[in-house]
Amino acid sequence: MKTFTYERVNTPVEAAAAAARTPGAKFLAGGTNLLDLMKLEIEAPPHIIDIGKIGLDKIESTPAGGLLIGALVNNTDLAAHSIVRRDYGLLSRALLAGASGQLRNKATTAGNLLQRTRCPYFYDTNQLCNKRVPGSGCAAIAGFSRQLGIIGTSNACIATYPGDMAVAMRALDATVETVNAKGAKRALSLDRFYRLPGQTPHLETILEKNELITAVLLPPPVGGVHIYHKVRDRASYAFALVSVAAIIQKNGSGRVAVGGIAPRPWRVEGAESLLPSGAKAFAAQLLTGARPTKENEYKLALVERTVAAVLNEANH
């Protein structure tokens, strides 16, 4: 790990201001992704701003009937919160399907949103990777791409967004709230929060430099059956090959976001009117424009079948 200087801050604006003072500085929340990457020197911030004790660790109902989740709420507490379990079961299920008990105790809401890809070539610093070293090339496209993306990718990067929580949040129409060093706030809807790679796969979100995530806002609950179905190589403690986050209503309408296939949680609102016609029609529309590799074209069928399983479960 490269050396770094370290500071603790007490408020969100202080955190953003500290980041503005030191170019290349990084916020440290739980640390479960950042430290992992720092050990491999994939990330090498010269300065660490520890935001672990700035508050933002509450879950509060909003006057409009929604739920405001503080950026520092840990994944265990979020999954176990009584309102989340009752009204946003999809979110509990997605969190509980991710990582391990130890990691969920430490991982935070904001850190989880910003976790970086698990592309094996991104992790192997001997390999070419445009995300790790912009402009260097992509070893994955002609390499082992079984786990990688089939849609939304580019000829510069085919990595996926690896997380579970954000897939559920996308189906729940979540908004990410932020603050900058001047105290200015922004609300970024999750559907445009993650960028597609294009020629700049190292730019992953629309957050500005030094912008701190303060919370995630969920709109009022929409009812329905909540299902998070994660398909992976082991029954537990593995990243998704494909995951389906679904809210299905009695009349067959619903919302579906898919994880494990794209650089961001993949949801196409325009395809959802096809849900009552079944998984095949819906998946065909959802995956229009997919460009899988030979090694990961199995994901096309896997998405359709996982959606079919979810629709089937929702009807029982």
């Binding site: 790990m1 490269k2 050396t3 770094f4 200087t5 370290y6 603790r8 440290l28 739980g30 640390g31 479960t32 430290l35 992992d36 050990k39 660490i48 520890d50 672990g52 004790k53 265990t76 999954a79 176990a80 379990r85 009752r86 079961g89 509990s92 299920r93 509980l96 399907a97 990582a99 391990s100 008990g101 130890q102 990691l103 105790n105 430490k106 029954a235 537990s236 403690y237």
Partner: protein, 214 residues
């Protein structure tokens, strides 16, 4: 092995001393000018942290990069906690922080200002085993023993999590209180890998403790 004897050199110190000697030899082959110009180009960054480990207050001044795991093992000699993968994947480094289990390898020691940390050494002693330690012995919940401190810390926390009503991936309902079934225990322990494959015995040890607590 008596690790408290200050006059004996541990294997680790032995390796460190050897490395220094080899480095010195390599440098002495260089010209004087080069040899004197070799120094740390990046200054070490030090910082202070205070926390409680197994009931005793500790205050450390150390390299900012030190993980909680390395602080426990290398600075405080609580070597019960083990380093396996050092990337949060195996669970050998599991300790309890303010009563909750975490991977101590993926946490900077500096993140734990004011925290209360319990390692395997703080759970029980050879004369007075923690019930979970006793159950692991009774049920052969290990073979080589390397993952065991992490397994036991995790197991203790798992039963507390179930008691606190925290659901898991295999809980059929999010709204009912979870029960310590074999499936629940296995799912909740999936962050602790055992390469000897003692999993079924670990689950049995945990079941016994869960039943006694109920």
């Amino acid at each position: 092995m008596d690790e408290s004897n200050e006059s004996t050199i541990t294997r680790r110190e032995m390796i460190a001393a050897t490395t220094t000697a080899v480095t010195a030899l390599a440098f002495s082959g260089m010209t004087g000018v080069q040899a004197t110009s070799i120094q740390h180009t990046v200054p070490l960054s030090l910082a202070q942290v205070s926390f409680t480990v197994n009931g005793r207050a500790q205050s450390l001044n150390m390299d900012t990069r030190t993980t909680l795991l390395d602080a426990l093992r290398e600075h405080l000699q609580f070597t019960g906690t083990k380093k396996g993968c050092d990337h949060g994947q195996c669970g050998a480094c599991t300790v309890l922080v303010n009563g909750r289990r975490i991977n101590s390898c993926l946490s900077l020691a500096l993140q734990h200002q004011g925290d209360t940390i319990t390692t395997i050494e703080g759970l029980g002693t050879p004369d007075k085993l923690h019930p979970m330690q006793a159950a692991f012995v009774k049920h052969d919940g290990y073979q080589c023993g390397y993952c065991t401190p992490g397994q036991i810390c995790s197991a203790v926390a798992v039963l507390n999590e179930i008691k606190a009503g925290i659901p898991s991936h295999v809980s059929a309902s999010l709204l009912e209180k979870p029960v310590a079934t074999n499936m629940e225990l296995r799912e909740r322990m999936s962050g602790n890998i055992c390469r000897c494959g003692a999993y079924s015995n670990i689950a049995e040890a945990m079941s016994e403790v869960a039943q006694k607590q109920a």
